[in-house]
Symmetry: C2
Subunit: 332 residues, 2 copies
């Protein structure tokens, strides 16, 4: 096993060498789609998803026998400012709920036969309060990214990535303001004044000081967000397509987009969150969500729900008969 990554420059080096899509697998998938017993394009995004999976799994046919949901949990110094309706203790309580099987994500994983792993990240030690200091040191941030990378274990066909962390939509909004600019309320939407003020002050403090997107993540993010950034990158290297969840998860992934606009091509955003900043963030990173069900729970709930859509795409792609096989006449 290689030495664990312990500084951000190693991470920066990885971003510069992300593999591209497998054109051959994508072409094979598109060719098969054209032969299946349906008018061309009539399965809409299910067709696109099958081709996307083939391209980013680098194999044809694509498979989805082993979907996996990862939930990273972290605590935030900024939560002490009353930015959330819930006390910070809820992060650890919800982790216990995940372990006991009582949360939404547990039920969703069961419905779609997805494996679930929950990673708690130093819940007793919140990150620094981003209003007055960076969330993490260089080393802490690099280790959190590396932790997320290591969670991408061998044998996974697709990943749903999510988070739990009281106060982390404040961190995510600040991170978005840091990465892409814009006033705090454009990223928080209507929010508690304490939240809006924290985002505004944190972004004003760290944006001018940050040297690049990873430094922005270090200053404005959080442990679970950094882990998601790492998991997205590791998934790309391991040929594992990714479903992103809501606002906080997408913000963590957007760090990579800010470094290289192609870095999220192996990701699809599962759903449009009801968290107000999500729509703006998706426009920023050029992602079209699969659905909009008014969800805003986090914990990978939207991404795990999207495994149903991905499974449908793979099943149609691999199981449908061709026009020739079925003796069905084509158009014209």
């Amino acid at each position: 096993m290689a030495e664990p990554i312990a500084n951000l420059d190693e991470i920066r080096g990885l971003l510069a060498h992300l593999p591209g899509p497998d054109i051959e697998a994508g072409t094979a998938a598109a060719a098969r789609q054209a032969q299946l017993t349906k008018p061309a394009g009539s399965l809409g995004r299910l067709e696109e998803l099958a081709i996307w999976l083939a391209k980013w799994q680098a194999r044809h046919p694509p498979r989805l026998d082993h979907p996996r949901t990862l939930v990273f949990a972290g605590n935030h110094g900024v939560a002490a400012r009353g930015v959330s309706a819930y006390p910070p203790a809820v992060t650890a309580q919800m982790v216990q709920n995940f372990i006991a099987g009582g949360a939404a994500v547990n039920q969703l994983c069961r419905v779609f036969d997805a494996g679930l792993k929950v990673y708690e990240m130093n819940l007793d030690t919140p990150t620094g309060d981003i209003v007055v200091e960076p969330a993490m040191s260089e080393e802490e941030c690099a280790k959190a990214i590396a932790y997320g990378m290591m969670a991408v274990e061998p044998g996974i066909d697709a990943l749903a990535l999510g988070e739990m962390g009281i106060g982390n939509t404040t961190a995510a909004a600040a991170l978005c303001a840091g990465l892409f600019g814009g006033a705090a309320e454009q990223w928080t939407g209507p929010a508690l004044e304490a939240k809006r003020a924290a985002v505004s002050e944190a972004a004003a403090r760290h944006r001018p000081a940050a040297c690049d997107p990873f430094d922005m993540l270090r200053r404005l993010g959080g442990l679970e967000l950094a882990a998601i950034t790492g998991a997205v990158m590791a998934a790309r290297l391991a040929r594992v397509p990714v479903l992103l969840d809501g606002f906080a998860s997408t913000a963590a992934a957007a760090v990579l987009f800010a470094g290289d606009p192609r870095a999220l091509d192996h990701c699809v955003v599962a759903h449009l969150s009801a968290e107000p900043g999500h729509r703006r963030l998706l426009e920023q990173i050029g992602q079209r969500p699969l659905f909009d069900l008014g969800m805003r729970l986090g914990e990978a709930s939207g991404a795990t729900l999207a495994f149903g859509v991905l499974k449908a795409a793979v099943a149609c792609h691999t199981g449908m008969a061709t026009f020739t096989e079925a003796g069905v006449s084509g158009p014209g």
Copy 2:
């Protein structure tokens, strides 16, 4: 067993006596939702769906152990006018494909453990050409509705309804123009001129002559559309919530809405079809689709895909821990 229904007046009588929602079951579902370990409303439409299922299954908790997909297939006299890119023979060929397990809907039923039944309706005898005559006689229409009603067998927890019939989006567009008015191209969107002209002429001929929505169905619909109308009504009587599919299926259900705006309260439209008239039709009947994936295949594909969303809703509703059970702090 009662005498089979053989005239439209009996159907009209049923529409006048549809049962309403079970308020008690709905209230129990809403009360449970408020106790589950998530911020109130954070599962968005999954919460609404759980409550809707309870109300229309008339039980709490709602269940989804036995979802069933029904596909009705029929042929249309108007297809001889070249309104479709595919020859009419494709209807029967696709029914064989359903039976052999090679169509999209077969794969989708497999993914979501839904039973599938396919009903072919006199494929050798297309309905009348709606441009010059009614599609069906009174008796044919009543029998087709009754056939669809009988397909709603006991023990089904929810239904996905779909169709197969070359030329049936022409019939559906004409039926919509008949029920709700509007120019042909508002219901067909950009289409083959033969299709636009057929819709325009058929609606102009039958709209003034029809005495009510069922007579409009008889004149402008088709066997598989009438069966769907019947299945939607029988599902209401049998306390089975319904997922509607695309343009043709929704048009068939809209016959009931035109007769009584509450008649589709036990139905949810699964998806926004890429078939252009669907958006306008959904506005007309006040339905908000669950998702928009650019699908336009019919054969209940979108409705069956939505079983994944319904299963997720039920699993979260019944499987999640309450705040008290999990020892998670509430807001404030």
